[in-house]
Amino acid sequence: MVRRCTPVLLALGALLALLLGASPATADGTGGSGGDRPVLRVGTEGTYEPFSFEDADGDLTGYDVDVMRAVADEAGYDVEFVQGAFDSLFPALDADRIDVIANQITINPEREARYLFTQPYTYSRGVIVTRTDTDDITSLADVAGVRAAQSETSNWAQVARDAGADVQSVDGLPQALELLAQGRVDVVINDNIAVLSYLSTRDDAPVEIAGDVDDEVSEQALVLRQDEQEVRDRLDQAQQRLAADGTLAGISEDYFGADVSVENTGEGVDPEGTARTRWEVVRDTAGPMALGALRVTLPLTVISFAAGLALALLAALARMSSSRWLRWPARTYISIIRGTPLLVQLFIVYYGLPELGLRLPGFTAACVALSLNVGGYAAEVIRSSILSVPRGQFEAATTLGMGYRQTMRRIVLPQASRIAVPPLSNTLLSLIKDTSLASVVLVTELFREAQTVAQNTGEFLVLYTLAAAYYWIICLVVSAGQGRLEKRLARYST
């Protein structure tokens, strides 16, 4: 049945090319002189206070961020920060999506074998954190058999596991401490600076430092890929100059009231912290979340739905074709999309394809994965809608002398579209909510905004509820639109 679909394919190709060219707002352009200095893409969590976090105005700041800015500037680079969950930083480095990680990465033998480190700019020691009402855990030996909450790829997870703890994976230190406060885990292991800093902003949290991990002092440094020897050396030299002239010590004093960039760190650290009230947090966050919705969630939805529908129409027509060479690939495509989790599809596109040389920016990768997903689901909706148009309509068009394409475009699809509106609206509603998955591929959309602030402030309930409310409002608008569209399309039915 399908004979020529080239124009539609071309249009799809053009759309894709457009996406590859322009990917909105996933990265923060910062950097001083604005000249044409080379740009370093720096991966950091943005949720790891006081090392890497967003201040009340939503600007990225923190000890690691400031050190990175200073070192890069001294070395003659501009920086561009890319925020992502801790567990996505190393994959992003591997996939050449970022050049450096500035996120309190501890030097250890496994990492030294795979990556390049600069000189350490933080020296810290590990501490064991428990609830205040827990008295029987004071050293690493007591951790055996209890539940710990840790970021999976962080070295503290390994420390906890080696000590015999049952490790639950979490997204970052704030979440880990929240779980601890809620009694869902018994212990959290992390470095003293991060923990003290967190406690200073949440002095109501019923948790405390119960003991040191050991006598060892861990060292944190910037991380680069092994093929970046030259860049590493430039950064290293710049860092040494800044250590010598006291710049690093100054940055450290600002954040910790002590110099953690030299080895005898630790006691007497008095981190600054400005605790905001819950209302202030919500007030400060509602705006950025709405912006995230407008600038990322909505474009992502609109582009993915449009491209997905075009794809779905092609797949539906191919699926009904008399040629097995069209039918078979369409069936396979639909079956794979409907038979695999969207999250896995997204990971394949974002983290997998770079291995084949196709490196898409986060926003584009999310568009591609969501479009393919919508295409697979909507194809079956469109197919069944076309099949529900009476055969007589095809025959009547044929006797008027219309060909396949004319019949489809003028007679069949207008009638099928009316049947397809309610189920396709469901697909659209699902898509709106599924865009939140883009947060895992470093896209700062509505949910990621909420997540970032929630991690930093511990206001999980109100911020996630606010995010839910935003999604709900968008879906309400779409549902209202569906009602109007159905009414319009039904005007000829009685």
């Binding site: 025959e395 009547a396 006797t399 008027l400 002398g401 004319q406 007679i411 009638q415 009316r418 000829y492």
Partner: protein, 257 residues
């Protein structure tokens, strides 16, 4: 008078069942041919072969200068393309009225009428619309241009169906049981329109069960039975059939009516 329609040796089987076994006939220009027969006799298949809604297994169909010979194989890319061109040319010679009208529900009455002329024949919209208004007047539906099919009665819908077929200015109008799906009280208005067309000298082929109506309009009657033309003649076939099968059928139909 030369023959406008010429059908030879049509055969068609669905699965293992032979529906048409060597059907042939001719129709002169300006005449009305009525096709009658018991259900399953193949009369609708004959009609649908005339515009290749069914593709015959063998035989040939000619309307005016357009002919498709199904005995010539249409293999390969070139063969299929040639056959597609022939079929398109043949279809352009006829308009069809369906048993259940098959109007386009998403288009107005006027939209249904101008769809073929504008989209297929490429005629200017204003001209096609003027033409369509004339046709609507002719079938007694002037003023209903902006109505949607669902807003019309069954008889009105079928009259729009007739006007839609006429809008293409076809040389032949094919009507497939045009009143069978209608409530009895609506049959008259549709038959009236068809009667006018016959009087106008349109060339028509009609499959119908309305024997009394057929007597009025038929110039030629084809009685089909078991996939062959059992009897062929003028309107007298309906009053004075020679074949026992025809007699039997007519008496049964007339008893019921």
């Amino acid at each position: 008078m030369s023959d406008l329609i010429e059908v030879r040796g049509l055969r068609k089987a669905f699965g293992g069942t032979e529906v048409l076994r060597d059907v042939g006939f001719t129709s002169a220009a300006g005449t009305t041919t009525v096709v009658l027969g018991p259900s399953g006799s193949g009369k609708t298949t004959v009609l649908r072969s005339l515009n290749v809604l069914e593709t015959p297994d063998a035989g040939s169909v000619r309307i005016a200068d357009a002919e498709v010979d199904f005995d010539v194989p249409a293999h390969g890319r070139a063969g299929r393309a040639r056959r597609a061109r022939e079929v398109k040319a043949l279809r352009a010679r006829s308009g069809m009225v369906f048993q259940s009208h098959h109007l386009f529900p998403h288009k107005t009455v006027l939209g249904n009428l101008v769809e073929g002329p504008v989209q297929v024949q490429g005629r200017p919209v204003e001209e096609a619309e003027a033409d369509a208004r004339g046709l609507l007047e002719q079938v007694g539906l002037a003023g209903r241009e902006t109505a949607y099919p669902a807003q019309l009665s069954g008889g009105q819908q079928q009259r729009v169906g007739i006007a839609r077929a006429l809008a293409l200015h076809p040389e032949v109008v094919l009507l497939d049981e045009p009143t069978s799906a209608l409530d009895p009280e609506l049959v008259g208005e549709v038959l009236g329109v068809i009667r006018d067309l016959a009087a106008e000298g349109r060339t028509m082929v009609i499959v119908t069960h309305e024997v009394r109506f057929a007597r009025d309009v038929a110039d030629q009657v084809l009685f089909l039975d078991g996939g062959v033309v059992a009897e062929r003649g003028g309107a007298e076939v309906l009053t004075d059939p020679r074949e026992p099968r025809t007699q039997q059928f007519l008496s049964r139909v007339l008893e019921k009516g």
